[in-house]
C-alpha cells in the first residue's frame, strides 16, 4: 500500500466549484477528520455526502464529499473527492487541512501513475504517462521551490541551519560520549534551543504574504462622479441589492464592499462615494476614502455617463487611472451618446447599462482577460506552493511541540531528536533539500573528533 496523496483536481481559476481529491489507504480517515456531517468511515461506497469542512471549530466551507472505496476506483485505492464552493481561499484551506492530517501533495500525473500501476489504464498508455511524469515531476518541485520568495527561502535555510547544528551537537554527544569538545546538550538546554525555533516558525506562518493575496482575492474599486451608476453596476455584478441605490447624488458615503467568486477567484468590489469637488464635509471624507481605495486596488473600474460630456472631474479621474490596471465602463448606452469618445482612445473601454444588464458580461470578460493572463495563472502556483509550505511549516511546528512535550516527560534526548529531525525534514521539503549528507558533514566540520 502506498501513502495517501491529495491534489486539487480542477483547474484553479476555472469554475466556482473546486474538487480536492484524496487517494490512498488513509483517504477516508483524513477526510473524516476535517468533515462534519455523516461519519465518512461508515458511509457506503460511491455516495455523495453533504456537510462542512472544519478547521478546528471554524467552518471553512459547505461541501459535498464523494466517497469511493477500493478497488472500484480510478486508482483502485480509496478515493475521496471534496467539492468546495468557497473559491480559492476555501479550496486552499481544505488542501492544507488534508496535508496537515497526513496526506502528501501529489506530484503531477501521480493519480494517473497509480491508476496505471494498479492496472487500470491500458499498457499502451504507459508511454504517455511516462511523458507526463518526466515533464512535470521534476518541474513541479523546482516550481514549488522557485515560487518561494527569496526572503522566505533564506529564512527557512537559516532555520534549518539552526536546527542542524542542534542535531549535530546531539549526534556528537551520542557518537563521542567521552569527548568534551562538544557541549553537552541537556533537557533544559535543548528546550531553550527549541523555543526560538518554534517562535520563528510561527512568525513564518503569520508573515506568509502570498497567503494574503490568495485569501483576499482581487480588489476592484468602482469609481466615478456622483450618480453615474456605480452602485447599480456593483449590484449587477453582485447580483444582489447590497449597495444602497437612489437617484440622489451623494447617497453612497462609505465604501460598500461585496465579493463574488468569479472563475474561481475572489473578486472584491469596492463601491465608492462619487468623486467631485464638494463642500459637504461628510462627502469629502467619502471622496478621500475613494482615492485611497483606488491606490489599494488591483483594478479600477471608472464609470462614465454616456449621456453627458466629460466634466473636469471626469478628466481628473481619467488622469488618476491612466497608469493603473483599469476598465472604463461607459454607462447608460441606452441614452443618446454625448460623450467625446476621441479623448478615451487610450483607455480600455466597455459599453453597457445597468438598467438592462447590457454590457455586464462583457465587463466580466474584460476582467477575466486582464487577470487570466497576468494574474490568475501565477496565482495558481502561488496557491499550491502556499498551501504546501504552510502545511509543511505547521507539521514542523507540530514536531517541535511534540519534542518539547517529550522533554517535559523526561524522554531521552536521542529519542526526542526523532521529532527534531522530522521538523528539519519538513522544512527541507519546502526548499527541496535532502537530509543525511548534510548532517554528517555538519558533524565533522563543527566538532573536533578523532582517535
Amino acid at each position: 500500500m502506498e501513502d495517501t496523496i491529495v491534489a486539487i483536481s480542477t483547474a484553479i481559476g476555472l469554475g466556482a466549484i473546486s474538487i480536492i481529491r484524496l487517494s490512498g489507504p488513509d483517504a477516508i480517515k483524513i477526510a473524516d477528520k476535517i468533515f462534519k456531517g455523516k461519519d465518512l468511515t461508515k458511509v457506503a461506497s460511491h455516495t455523495i455526502n453533504y456537510g462542512h469542512i472544519y478547521d478546528g471549530e471554524k467552518i471553512v466551507d459547505e461541501v459535498l464529499v464523494s466517497v469511493m472505496l477500493a478497488p472500484k476506483t480510478y486508482t483502485t485505492e480509496d478515493i475521496v473527492e471534496i467539492n468546495t464552493h468557497g473559491g480559492v481561499s476555501a479550496t486552499n484551506k481544505v488542501l492544507e487541512l488534508c496535508l496537515l492530517n497526513g496526506a502528501r501533495l501529489a506530484t503531477q500525473g501521480e493519480f494517473t501513475k497509480r491508476a496505471f500501476l494498479a492496472g487500470r489504464i491500458d499498457l499502451t498508455q504507459a508511454e504517455a504517462v511516462q511523458d507526463i511524469i518526466t515533464s512535470a515531476t521534476d518541474k513541479s518541485l523546482s516550481l514549488f521551490v522557485n515560487q518561494l520568495t527569496g526572503s522566505l527561502k533564506k529564512l527557512i535555510i537559516k532555520l534549518r541551519k539552526d536546527i542542524v547544528s542542534i542535531l549535530a551537537n546531539i549526534e556528537v554527544n551520542i557518537d563521542y560520549p567521552e569527548y568534551e569538545d562538544a557541549p553537552k546538550i541537556t533537557i533544559a538546554s535543548l528546550k531553550e534551543l527549541l523555543y526560538p525555533v518554534k517562535n520563528k516558525l510561527n512568525d513564518l506562518i503569520k508573515e506568509s504574504k502570498n497567503a494574503k493575496i490568495i485569501k483576499d482575492g482581487i480588489n476592484i474599486a468602482i469609481i466615478g462622479r456622483p450618480n453615474v451608476g456605480k452602485s447599480s453596476l456593483l449590484n449587477k455584478l453582485l447580483e444582489e441589492e447590497k449597495a444602497i441605490v437612489t437617484d440622489i447624488a451623494g447617497t453612497t458615503r462609505d465604501l460598500v464592499e461585496g465579493s463574488i467568486i468569479f472563475k474561481g477567484i475572489k473578486l472584491n468590489f469596492i463601491d465608492t462615494a462619487g468623486i467631485r469637488e464638494s463642500k459637504d464635509i461628510v462627502e469629502n471624507i467619502g471622496i478621500k476614502k475613494s482615492l485611497d481605495s483606488v491606490s489599494q486596488s488591483n483594478l479600477v473600474i471608472l464609470v462614465l455617463n454616456n449621456n453627458e460630456d466629460l466634466t473636469s472631474d471626469d478628466h481628473k479621474l481619467l488622469d488618476i487611472i491612466k497608469d493603473k490596471t483599469h476598465i472604463v465602463f461607459v454607462n447608460k448606452n441606452d441614452l443618446p451618446a454625448k460623450l467625446n469618445i476621441e479623448s478615451l482612445k487610450e483607455y480600455n473601454i466597455c459599453y453597457g447599462n445597468t438598467i438592462n444588464d447590457n454590457g455586464i458580461d462583457e465587463l466580466k470578460n474584460k476582467i477575466e482577460d486582464l487577470f487570466n493572463l497576468e494574474q490568475i495563472k501565477p496565482l495558481d502556483n502561488i496557491y499550491l506552493t502556499n498551501s504546501r509550505q504552510n502545511a509543511l511549516i505547521k507539521l514542523a511546528i507540530k514536531e517541535i511541540d511534540h519534542a518539547l512535550k517529550s522533554l517535559d516527560e523526561e524522554i531521552p534526548i536521542d529519542l526526542v531528536e526523532i521529532d527534531i529531525k522530522n521538523a528539519w525534514n519538513y522544512l527541507g521539503e519546502i526548499i527541496g533539500a535532502t537530509y543525511k549528507e548534510e548532517l554528517i558533514d555538519e558533524l565533522f566540520s563543527n566538532f573536533c573528533l578523532g582517535k
Binding site: 506530484t107 511524469i133 515531476t137 554527544n173 569538545d181 534526548i413 526523532i418 565533522f444 573536533c448 573528533l449
Partner: protein, 620 residues
C-alpha cells in the same frame, strides 16, 4: 588442493568469514601471510564503542565469534551512553592485544572443516568470469568454488612518517605488492585510502599521577548472547585521560610542513572522523587543548596506546610532541605513530551480498571495501562468509535491511553510495537506530541466523523462550492493576515517588517518567530474567517513538519489496535523466528502495523506473 571456500587474509573479516563458512560445513581455507598475526589489532586496543558495540552484538546474534572472543579477552568493559536513551547505548571493551588473537586462533584451530595456511596470495585464477582459485607467491595453487578477499591494509601498503615512505604493512609486516595490480587487470576499480595510528608509550616511563583515571563499569556485561561473563568486575584495568598543552600546539604548528600529510607526501584519502593531531590543530585552531587517552595494550607487554595523537610527523618531532604532554615529559616511545596508505576497491562494484559484480563467486570484506574498524570488518566478513556458503548451497543470499541491523546500514551505504574515505559506522548513519539496539540484537537477528544455518537449534529455542517471556510480561503489566493500599503507598513514599491517586495498570504506571522496572519489582515480584524486563521496559516507555520509527520502516520496506530484475537494460528506458541512467547502470540496485537512495536519482526517475518495470515485467 581444493576448498569450497578460500579466505585470503586473517584479520577480523577473514576470521569471521572462514569460521562461519566452516561452521556451515564447507571445506574452508584461511590463507594468511603470518599465522601469528591472525586477529591482530594493529590500532586501538578496544572492541566495540558507540554503534560498533551494537555491531558486535549483531555479529554474535548471527552466529559470528567476535563477541565471545572479546568477552574472554578484555581487561575493562563499560556501557557507553547510559545517561542517554536505550537506542544509543553500546558496549566497549579494552581488549588485550595478546589474548584476543590467541583466543581467536584457538577458536579457529578447533573449528572442523577449517585449515589455516600460511602464504601470500599473488594472483587469482578465473575461468569464464568465475573464480576458480588462487596462486601463492611460491606458485602453489589452491582451487575453490568461492573466494573471500579480506586483505585489510596490506594491498600495496606504504607506511609514512615525515618525508619517509616505506613499502610495508602494519608494524613491519610485508606489503602485498601484486594482488591489487592483478585485480585491476581483471576489471576492479581501485582507490587509494589512508589511515593512521598513534604512538605506543612504555608503561614505566609514564607519570599517571598527572592524569585522570578512567574506570570500567562495576556491573557485568557481555557481547555474547550465549556465554556468561568470565571476568572479575573488581579486577579491571584503568585507562587515563590527559590533554594536549599550549606547547604541543606550538610544536605542531612550527613543524607542520614536516608531516607527511601537510608536506604532500600522502596520496590516500584519510577519514574525517579520525583526523591526525595535526589535522585537529589546523582545523580547530581556536581550541586551546585536545583530549587524549592512554590505554594499556596488553597485560603481557608494556605498550600504552596514546589515543587521539595519531600523526605522520617525523620521529624527532614526535618525541617533542609526546614530551609536551603532562605525565609524558620523560616518556619512552616504543613505537612511533605512522600513516598507512593502501589499495581498496570501489565498493560500488560489489553487490549487497558482498559478491563482486566483476567476477562471480568473489566476495570482499573489510578495509578492501573501503571501511575502517575491526567491527565493521568482522561484520562484513561474517556476511561474506554466509553468502559465499549460501551461493555454494544454491540459496538466495542474506541481505540485511537498514531496519534489521547496523550491518544492513553499513553494507547498503557501501554498495549504494560508495565511499571515498575509510567508512566508519556512526549511530547517526542509522535512521532507524531506535529499533537497532544493543538489547534486542538477538530478537532482530537470531531468527535470520537460524534460517541461514548459522544459529543452532538450541540457540533458536532460547530465543523463542525469551520472546514468549516478553509477551507474557507485557500482557501481565497490561492486564493487572496496581491497587493503592497503605503498604503500597509506603513503598512509593520510601522511594521518593508520588503515590498514584487512582488505581492504574502496571503498564500505565511504567509509562510515567519517574517509574522504572526496578521500582516495579518492589511492588510485584516478577519472575522474569533481567533482559526480558529490560526489553519490556523499553517497549513500554518508548512506545510512541518506536511506533513512529516502525511507520517509517514500513514505508521503506514497501519500496524494498519492489525488486528490480538484474538483467534490466537501463538504456531501454526512455526519459530517464542522464545522471540517473549512469548511476543506475553502475550500481544496479536490487530494489526500488535501493535505487531511491542513490544520490543523483530523483523521484521522477524512480517513477519512470516503476512504470517501466510494470510494463516490462508486470512487477508490482
Amino acid at each position: 588442493m581444493y576448498y569450497d571456500v578460500i579466505v585470503v587474509g586473517g584479520g577480523h573479516a577473514g576470521c569471521e568469514a572462514s569460521y562461519i563458512s566452516a561452521y556451515k560445513g564447507h571445506k574452508t581455507a584461511l590463507i594468511t601471510m603470518n599465522i601469528k598475526n591472525i586477529a591482530d589489532m594493529p590500532c586501538n586496543p578496544s572492541i566495540g564503542g558507540t554503534a560498533k558495540g551494537i555491531i558486535v552484538r549483531e555479529i554474535d546474534a548471527l552466529g559470528g565469534i567476535m563477541g565471545q572472543i572479546a568477552d574472554r579477552a578484555h581487561f575493562q568493559i563499560k556501557m557507553l551512553n547510559t545517561s542517554k536513551g536505550p537506542a544509543v547505548q553500546a558496549l566497549r571493551a579494552q581488549a588485550d592485544k595478546v589474548v584476543y588473537p590467541k583466543e581467536m586462533l584457538k577458536k579457529l584451530s578447533s573449528t572442523p572443516n577449517l585449515d589455516i595456511i600460511e602464504g601470500m596470495v599473488n594472483d587469482i585464477i578465473i575461468e569464464d568470469n568465475v573464480i576458480k582459485g588462487v596462486i601463492l607467491e611460491d606458485g602453489t595453487r589452491y582451487l575453490c568454488q568461492a573466494l573471500i578477499l579480506t586483505t585489510g591494509t596490506y594491498l600495496k601498503a606504504n607506511i609514512l612518517y615525515g618525508d619517509k615512505k616505506e613499502i610495508s604493512g602494519p608494524h613491519g609486516e610485508r606489503s602485498s605488492l601484486y594482488l591489487s595490480g592483478h585485480l585491476k587487470e581483471y576489471g576492479f576499480k581501485l582507490q587509494r585510502l589512508k589511515t593512521g595510528t598513534p604512538q605506543r608509550i612504555e608503561a614505566s616511563s609514564i607519570d599517571f599521577s598527572k592524569m585522570q583515571e578512567e574506570l570500567g563499569d562495576n556491573k557485568y556485561w557481555t557481547f555474547s548472547h550465549d556465554y556468561p561473563p568470565s571476568y572479575d568486575v573488581n579486577n579491571q584495568q584503568k585507562c587515563y585521560l590527559l590533554y594536549t598543552t599550549a606547547e604541543t600546539k606550538k610544536i605542531i604548528e612550527d613543524n607542520l610542513s614536516k608531516s607527511s600529510m601537510y608536506g604532500g607526501y600522502v596520496e590516500g584519502i584519510g577519514p574525517r572522523y579520525c583526523p591526525s593531531i595535526e589535522d585537529k590543530i589546523v582545523r580547530f585552531s581556536d581550541k586551546p587543548r585536545h583530549q587524549l587517552f592512554l590505554e594499556p595494550e596488553s597485560l603481557y607487554y608494556n605498550d600504552w596506546y596514546l589515543q587521539g595523537f595519531s600523526t605522520s610527523m617525523p620521529h624527532d618531532i614526535q618525541e617533542k610532541m609526546v614530551h609536551s604532554l603532562p605525565g609524558l615529559e620523560h616518556a619512552k616511545i616504543n613505537k612511533y605513530a605512522y600513516a598507512i596508505e593502501y589499495d581498496a576497491i570501489d565498493p560500488l562494484q560489489i553487490k549487497p551480498s558482498l559478491e563482486s559484480k566483476i567476477i562471480n563467486n568473489i566476495y570482499t570484506a573489510g578495509q578492501i571495501n573501503g571501511t575502517s574498524g575491526y567491527e565493521e570488518a568482522a561484520a562484513q566478513g561474517l556476511i561474506a562468509g554466509i553468502n559465499a556458503s549460501l551461493k555454494i548451497e544454491n540459496k538466495e543470499p542474506l541481505i540485511l535491511k537498514r531496519s534489521d541491523a547496523y550491518i544492513g546500514v553499513l553494507i547498503d551505504d557501501l554498495v549504494t553510495k560508495g565511499t571515498n574515505e575509510p567508512y566508519r559506522m556512526l549511530t547517526s548513519r542509522a535512521e532507524y537506530r531506535l529499533v537497532l539496539r544493543h538489547d534486542n540484537a538477538d530478537l532482530r537477528l537470531r531468527k535470520i541466523g537460524y534460517q541461514v544455518g548459522t544459529i543452532s537449534k538450541k540457540q533458536y529455542e532460547n530465543l523463542l523462550n525469551k520472546e514468549k517471556d516478553i509477551t507474557s510480561l507485557l500482557n501481565f503489566l497490561k492486564e493487572n492493576k496496581l491497587k493503592i493500599t497503605l503498604s503500597i503507598s509506603e513503598v512509593f513514599e520510601e522511594n521518593g515517588k508520588d503515590v498514584p491517586k487512582i488505581s492504574m495498570s502496571y503498564y500505565d504506571l511504567l509509562k510515567r517518567p519517574e517509574i522504572n522496572m526496578e521500582f516495579l519489582n518492589k511492588l510485584v515480584n516478577f519472575d522474569y530474567p533481567l533482559e526480558v524486563q529490560t526489553e519490556v521496559e523499553i517497549q513500554i516507555k518508548y512506545e510512541g517513538y518506536i511506533a513512529k520509527t516502525y511507520k517509517e520502516i514500513h514505508k521503506m520496506l514497501k519500496l524494498e519489496a519492489k525488486k528490480i530484475p538484474q538483467n534490466i537494460d537501463y538504456d531501454k528506458i526512455k526519459n530517464l535523466a542522464t545522471e540517473a541512467r549512469q548511476k543506475l547502470k553502475l550500481i544496479r540496485p536490487i530494489s526500488i528502495g535501493q535505487a531511491s537512495r542513490i544520490s543523483g536519482v530523483n523521484p521522477a526517475d524512480i517513477s519512470i523506473l516503476a512504470i517501466y518495470l510494470k510494463k516490462e515485467y508486470n512487477n508490482d
